[in-house]
Point group: C3
Chain length 453, copies 3
């Protein structure tokens, strides 16, 4: 076993520590930028992230064909408002970039409320919240506003006139995304992907962005058995373009996580990769065992082809072992896709807990080696190796290590990885990692290829 | 995918509609006929069924050896009675054909009650019901009567004399059965088998007979991807003879159902085929998913080698994927094999519901195609194909279709049939059928052979 | 099928009967002997057992290398005590051999209580019990005593002086174990292993020793399809030495049981062999079905590489299908490894029940044949073979046999052993054995190799 994998097995792995406040501070800087699929807001955001990790910013030209799709033109928006006859801005893009439906066409017209009404979106059930709407890949324009604002307009009657302006345009440009490869001892890559296309929404998905950035920063400084590829890209079209243009990289991706919605106070929720039914994906095992060992409330869900960018990584032509880690998943919290998904909705300690969870998952993957027992006939004399006490009282920590040693020895038969042994034994990963480390040191086990069980 | 399979996926499939009353009317005509394993009653019944479907009536000569069995002689019965000294018919075959033990030998003798008693069968726990007994393949004779009738005889004392007559005989003839093949686009055959050997018993099994007949009638008028083979035959010896004499047909049977006891008000009960543990049988999947989607109470049972004619189809030499559909199974309702299993016990609406269920199962098998995604790398741009709405409100029906589209696309990997996708997704078959139809129309999926998962 | 297997299927198999009292009497003779890993106590015990079964006593010389271990020197102990200044034996080996820590070095010294204290072991939570301690493979010496005894010493203060004597020595000799092979019609061997190294402890493991001895005695007198190999050996080093020195025998071991802790009144507890997850081990099936059919409380546990000598048999290099049968397992009863595990703790009727259970397990293995249906197409005419009654009342015993006949016939497809059929059918083994016996007699089934399902 390599030195770095050994180190990951023990307690010298990085920990989120006080990163919660730092992540929240970064999020506050990112919050006001108007991220869309493409354009200036995305580029400014990626630049900000470069302060934390040395992301490479890549550009894919508008019009590039990618798997039947076409990379869209860039959308540029400068201002937008609805003014009443007195010239007052009743709805004002300067107040919130959620007020404009994403990728709206430009418009400047005076029209009656009756004409304007079909272009207005509100949330009657939450009268003070502005909804988030977008019409990617479609023509048209629209405004989002709180239902209270809409009420004001309504009360002025259907014939009241308003000046409506969206100073925006679609023009050829490029799709921008951030990428970072952290090479390890092997070229077995772990993909970490997060979407960067949403405007001023904190949990969906500034939370995913800052956790991914800090995860990358921590891994950059740690010894690495595996390699790590981080992607910060617009949802759907981003991974589609990346997959289309990086087909040579795909065979190197052995594990993957889509990160999103990681700042709310809900329980951590893991959605398995598509492979979970046919065969075991190590990432599924790793996440599930980490969540089991943490002992905090969490939820494991089966794969479904709906959701976030796992839809693309897990499309049948690729079928990559990529799961998705969130706290409360998209669409299942009331604030989702509204102005209430703001900086207060997201807690520093929840971000830190999410980052810790990611680090533990990475630790489990780093340490997930398949071993071969070098003395597979009967137990070796563990007493002389200092791994077994005689009959009688021994302290619980020694006893736990001793049990872990017995499990690792017995199932290091080339058919069971350390994660397999953790599943079968129900013992904590930490104990098994320690046991494996000691047994490697005694040369009682050695790293091996895995043969199919 | 073929045109007819396409049609089955939508709502133009036949429905039982008002057939409940028609089936019950047919049953009333069939009820008085004295069906046994062989003979006139069976032939008259098959002739009556020919009014509904163009059954071919086949005859297998008495004495024909079939898998170690011998096709029996024909049993003809003309009359039977027990008369007291005054010549009164205390037990009278003209009142109910259940009064004579099936395939009794002929007899005409005067004997005491003490001599007669061993030949009398009643049901003390249901004193007004006449039991149904038969002694196929054995010698002897007997009468069945209500326990009240038996009481009368008992009260006259052991020495009272009775004239006993069974005017019956066994003579070489033939075993008759009905068969109908409805060819479809492929020679993949669905076997539908029902037993026709019981006398005046309504649920067991006039119900199976009339449902099978009306199912055949409806399928005759529908487009068919699959072929259908209907068999109306005496229990046990019927399928044994048919299997022995039609071995060339057997490889064409890909799915099958034994129908019986379909007119009572109990929940639909499905007994899986013998194959359910080793591999998935499509008929097991189809029935279970149809019952799941119906949302009405039902029961799924494991295969066992006891029961009805599935015993022969699922014998180890054949191991055909044949399940059994009943409402309350044989032996589990008090009226089973008694005169209380009469025309009142069977409800037109239950017959109609059973027929509907059969039609839905057939619909699921007709639509059970394995597809191949023609664009398996990432999702195709469904918005432009009209199969995906932008973010924001969309009506629940559209949303359900969109989800079904995503499931069908993702799992059309040649390893999952549409029934497999229905199991894994938990989505209704109807939505998946609609999604598949639309995706075929867009050429995003195409029919494929299935490769083993 | 062979004659002896036939006989095992029926009720002529041996039964524990009144053996409970005999086993308890033998245990009373064995109790006072001081068994350790090696030495005189073990040899005397094996001699006593030779009165019941013709064990061969084998010796392995001290110093023999076995899989990285070394066969230890023999430990001889003659006397041991702690005397106060008045010469009174406060702790006296003559009262209980538990008073000396196993394999203690010899010592004769006068020392203060303060000096003596680190060498004393008691159980404060059970002040009247003496614990059992050993320091196999380690240097040092010690005494075990009740906490009341310790209190006496404590009260005399830290400076009170005691004369301490352990008249013991380690010297080259040999490790003794008992072995018995009972050959059967085939060389498919069943290993029965029990540990013999503990001193005056009744449940752990005189109970395992006497049950194994009486099991061997009963099997010696019975017809045997399988062969049986009984091992009575010291824990850990015993099976390690035996496995190292008998590698040619190992391929013949097809089933195995480690027996221990079989005399307490707890429920029978079975720990599965290591193979239970990858494939079915017949011994696991047999034990679980026997326990199911017994209908008494019991527990089935997954394999773990901790416990008794199954650790060695199930080490990955051997991976033998060896399970472990106990009542309350080691470490789970308060009396475990204390002087309270005495002759009163163990009940004759519990020993008898354990022996019965073992005999039933052996019966299930003896009868576990895979059959081939000689008439696999449809059911054969069972009525003419006297195995099927016509419709109507038949007694429950006949009905159970008839159902068992149908199951055996249907699943005698070379893929299902009789134990497989018992699992799938949920029918009692006894009925299936009887059915198989009758079907063999009718030549409707015949013994077959098993092909993998």
């Amino acid at each position: 076993m390599s030195t770095s994998a050994m180190q990951h097995q023990t307690s010298d792995k990085p920990a989120a520590g006080g990163c919660g406040e730092q992540m929240h501070a970064l999020m506050r800087e990112l919050f006001p930028l108007h991220r869309s699929q493409t354009g200036a807001g995305v580029r400014q955001s990626l630049q900000l992230l470069q302060r934390v990790v040395p992301l490479e910013v890549n550009e894919v030209e508008s019009g590039t064909p990618v798997f039947g799709w076409t990379v869209p033109d860039e959308w540029t928006i400068r201002d937008a408002w609805i003014k009443d006859a007195q010239g007052r801005r009743l709805v004002d893009y300067q107040q919130s970039n959620l007020h404009v439906v994403g990728t709206s066409q430009g418009i400047r017209e005076t029209m009656t409320f009756a004409e304007l009404r079909p272009h207005l979106h509100s949330l009657p059930e939450h009268p003070e919240w502005i909804p988030y709407r977008t019409n990617h890949f479609q023509e048209g324009w629209g405004f989002c506003l709180s239902d209270s604002q809409l009420d004001q307009l309504r009360q002025a009657g259907p014939d009241a006139e308003y000046e409506v302006c969206i100073d925006a345009e679609m023009q050829p440009g490029s799709l921008s995304y951030g990428e970072l490869l952290l090479p390890g001892e092997t070229d077995e890559q772990v993909l970490v992907s997060t979407h960067i296309c949403h405007p001023s929404l904190a949990n969906d998905n500034l939370s995913g962005i800052v956790v991914a950035a800090y995860l990358a920063a921590q891994l950059q400084q740690a010894p690495r058995r595996l390699s790590y590829r981080f992607l910060f890209l617009p949802a759907t079209i981003g991974p589609i373009a990346w997959l289309a243009l990086n087909r040579d990289v795909i065979p190197h991706i052995h594990h993957g996580l889509v990160l999103a919605c990681l700042g709310d106070s809900g329980p951590v929720t893991y959605k398995r990769s598509r492979r979970s039914r046919q065969s075991r994906a190590a990432v599924d095992q790793a996440v599930e065992l980490v969540l089991r060992d943490r002992g905090t409330p969490h939820e494991i869900r089966e794969f479904s082809p709906t959701g976030y960018d796992e839809r693309q990584y897990c499309s049948p032509g690729f079928d990559l072992p990529v799961g998705r880690l969130t706290r409360t998943p998209n669409g299942e919290f009331a604030e989702y896709h509204t102005s209430a998904d703001n900086l207060e909705f997201v807690q520093p300690e929840c971000l830190a807990d999410s980052l810790d969870c990611c680090l533990e998952i990475i630790g489990a993957l780093e340490a997930n080696v398949t071993y071969q027992n070098t003395h597979p006939w009967c137990e070796p004399p563990l007493g002389s190796a200092g791994l077994y006490d005689g009959y009688g009282a021994c302290d619980p920590k020694r006893a736990a290590l001793q049990e872990a040693v017995q499990w690792v020895l017995n199932f290091s038969d080339r058919r069971h990885s350390l994660l397999d042994i953790a599943q079968r034994s129900s013992l904590p990963l930490a104990d098994l990692h320690e046991a494996a480390k000691r047994l490697v040191a005694c040369e009682l086990i050695q790293q091996s290829d895995q043969i199919q069980p």
